[in-house]
Symmetry: D2
């Protein structure tokens, strides 16, 4: 296959279930909502070494938020038990502490619910109030009153949607990955949790060092192309970036992969697009590249 002159590998991304919470963070202006969203989704690239995977889904205009203020939707993804703890911690430490913020459930239709009880921080001075049809707790704090919903929906979503952007040199691959991330930023229901949305060092499970659970994926390392057997680096490829996508459902992840792959192929010097899988035995989701373009 070929798109805009770039070869599209006949393969698929293998993805996994994850539990997902969507939190709407609002504030007095867009900037202050953004600051809180950035802090709340940091140190959350990969479930391997971080306590969860998290990222900013997108801006939510004032007309669409319960309190009529500008906001950002974030997604937090983890196993079910860890998810609740992480939502509690990240909202407590990174949003309740941020200027003028309020939080609202971004999955009000979800059947599964978690309780995110921040109101105990109020030490008895807290009280309940309805805001935009949502039951909220109000906590007196130093900058006035913090407002937050505490009943959050969670859904079984999809983690690990992915594709590889391969370039004739490093900067071409990087700009291809950047264009992909720019495009995915406009797709609803997804995040790209790695730094700036781009992965520079994909990993394989296991290592020759027994204490390591994961290690560099040498078959995708361009500098090892001539040194390892079965290298998967196509001839002429000097750098590879992976875009990893988590989302609220398979459809959203597919939309993101589609938008990202198309965008990457528009960048001069991008020569090959592939995707990562483990032979299909592990993840229940097989997202074929050929279905996306």
């Amino acid at each position: 296959m070929d798109l805009n002159g770039v070869t599209i590998d006949d393969t698929y991304a293998e993805a996994f279930p994850t539990w997902v919470s969507r939190v709407i963070i609002t504030a007095v202006t867009k900037k202050y909502a953004y600051n809180a969203a950035v802090e709340a989704t940091g140190f959350a690239t990969s479930a391997i070494g971080c306590p969860c995977e998290a990222g900013i889904e997108g801006f939510v205009p004032a007309e669409e938020t319960p309190d009529g203020r500008p906001g950002y939707a974030i997604l937090i993804c983890a196993g079910k038990k860890k998810l609740k703890a992480q939502v509690v911690e990240r909202l407590s430490e990174c949003v309740l502490t941020a200027p003028t913020t309020a939080v609202f459930d971004g999955l009000p239709e979800a059947e599964e619910r978690i309780a995110v009880k921040l109101h105990f921080f109020g030490d008895g001075y807290e009280y309940q109030k309805e805001v935009g049809g949502r039951k909220c707790w109000v906590i007196p704090v130093m900058n006035g009153e913090y407002v937050g919903e505490e009943d959050f929906g969670i859904v079984k979503g999809v983690a690990g949607g992915n594709f590889f952007v391969m370039g004739e040199n490093q900067m071409a691959a990087l700009m291809g990955a950047q264009a992909a991330v720019d495009a995915i930023a406009g797709v609803s229901g997804v995040i790209t949790s790695f730094p700036g949305g781009i992965v520079a060092s994909g990993s394989k499970v296991g290592s020759k060092y027994k204490f390591m659970v994961a290690s560099t994926n040498e078959k995708y390392c361009p500098t090892l192309r001539e040194k390892v057997e079965d290298s998967k680096v196509p001839e002429g490829v000097k750098a590879i970036y992976e875009i990893v996508i988590d989302g609220v459902d398979e459809e959203s992840v597919k939309n993101a992969m589609s938008a990202g792959v198309k965008a990457a192929t528009k960048v001069p010097g991008v020569v090959f697009i592939s995707a990562g899988n483990f032979g299909g035995n592990l993840g229940p989701f097989k997202l074929e590249l050929k279905d996306l373009i």
Copy 2:
């Protein structure tokens, strides 16, 4: 005391020792160094609920980095044991994974050292190389080669330097806090780890709810001024923000407090500056506001 028409409380900030690591993250352009620095310092506002306190100290121009590329210095602060684990995790997950990054020790003179052994990720393909006089490990990865120093200095620094910006209304206090944070961004050796550098909900130790280790500091809550005894909210104050500063030494934290207080008093509607302490029994550092202006 009075500065630019703003009352400066005759009190002091009480601060505590902490261990600090400074990491220089470089990348191909300023933007990609910044992306990695933001991810690596997220979810790190307060040691109470986050695994560490962390933030961006500042931009480091290409002339001053070991590899001659643009960089950002970040500070990671925690107790000694936790500090090593957090530096390892945050560099592994948020910097090694980021496009084109390299990391270098930002405290080469420090006597105490920690080993941050990321090179095992190389699965045997890693090798050593000197870069700008620093002993580094090179790890083959998907986007080429990751380069990183692994021997990092740590110093006993100061956590919890602070001051309160109080305003005649919420937006005046917020812009006062913002001006303070803008000014502190230019001071070397310090970070402000909260979202955007500003704390909206300062806490006291303990709570009427026994399972809570900290709770809202009702004496500093403007909406509770008439409801609690001994409120510390001055008459006419409608909102308070706290700026919390961690730094590599007492001098840096004082410089930051000084720059921040001066800047805040320039903002119309800021009426009172104070600082937080616990009576002086807990923290060994007493940073008097009157010495700073």
Copy 3:
């Protein structure tokens, strides 16, 4: 009238016809499209002293641009003759010179057209090519090939839609204006051409100094409230910002005013919203605040 506790003056904004061109600027990534859009719309706040009024309408995702790359739509507003000259100059100097850019007509349905002949820059090496169904010229340049459409629609739009955000102090008014601008950024068909979208110094026609065509509007100056007759500054108002909106049609300008006014009233310390007019004798558009909320 009252909205979210803020008084809405029973008055209207008086607006005027203007000619408008919409240019879609695309580039390899969002950032490079943005850089060109910022440069091309600078020094363009007010037709009184700038050669035109211009601003960024919004981001255009890759799926919606003719060449499938990320873009920004800008609006350039002026009298008919000046408009053509300004579009030519601003595209020549600020977009053709910018990395990887292409330009496309953003008003393909418009009957009135202007020719924006940049291709002569090609010195004979230029050639024609179709891109996304648009007839373009390709000009060999240093970074490869510049691509641009040269036939642009223009429409008779509306300039000078406006409202005033008044606050109990300066920072409240400023954050109210900021929230308004944040909200308007999401409305299609409009721009706010002043710096950051906010006007700090509204003017009246004429002056006691005969060589000045415009001067400070003393009736809206809070510091002159007690010194001038017929001050229009309500009691308790300490600062006023004006939001000025240009758009492709009356409906878009109304939508922007509506979104902006609603957003401003959400900001604590904003106490009064009004709008500017000249008694209705000059501009054919009378945009009543009461119709917007």
Copy 4:
């Protein structure tokens, strides 16, 4: 010559005298100073088609500004007569209109002075006041009071300092140019006036079309390498970006060129650095690349 594996052409940049004004714009926070600086320096890439050349020199911390607030220094460059008119227009339309701004002379030692009389906007309500040792005018405006110095130094500076970043493909050249611009941002006394600091389409004087004063410099167009005689595109080069620098003196421009060239050579895929001149007959400044590295 060779730097970091990149060939440095044995040539020089030819630069010209220009008159320069430096304006310090301060505001309540860094962001609002920046917004005004961006607007005031827009539509100012090249004196050929813009009314002047202008750009942001850099951030000025609160401790270094006359009014103790955060600021940005901008440079405005033009012929002597045009310079005064442009400073007046740009400050009137883009800074006086911006929230909370003040302006100060950034060249107080300069012997040549221009008068920038904005105070007539005050319509008789203006008055004089000293701020930080500077004689200023205060103009009552809608957001309170605008403060500005009106006596500005100008110096004979240098325009057209430049170098070319050539890459094995477009993205390598672009990131090389970006790294150069990032580095130059830290050099005092200079600006890079083109969009984002980077020129994609360098020009030569004249054209086969007689009405064009400038046209594409075909000898530097990679796509024309095989089609024109005496192409200056080295073998293997697929894209070229030019960095153009204006500054307050020759030393500053040299420092900027040096920092930029060094930074560009660090980017993988950058293969050749050159500079533009007209044989040395036109510009009095000959800035040799070999003296810079």
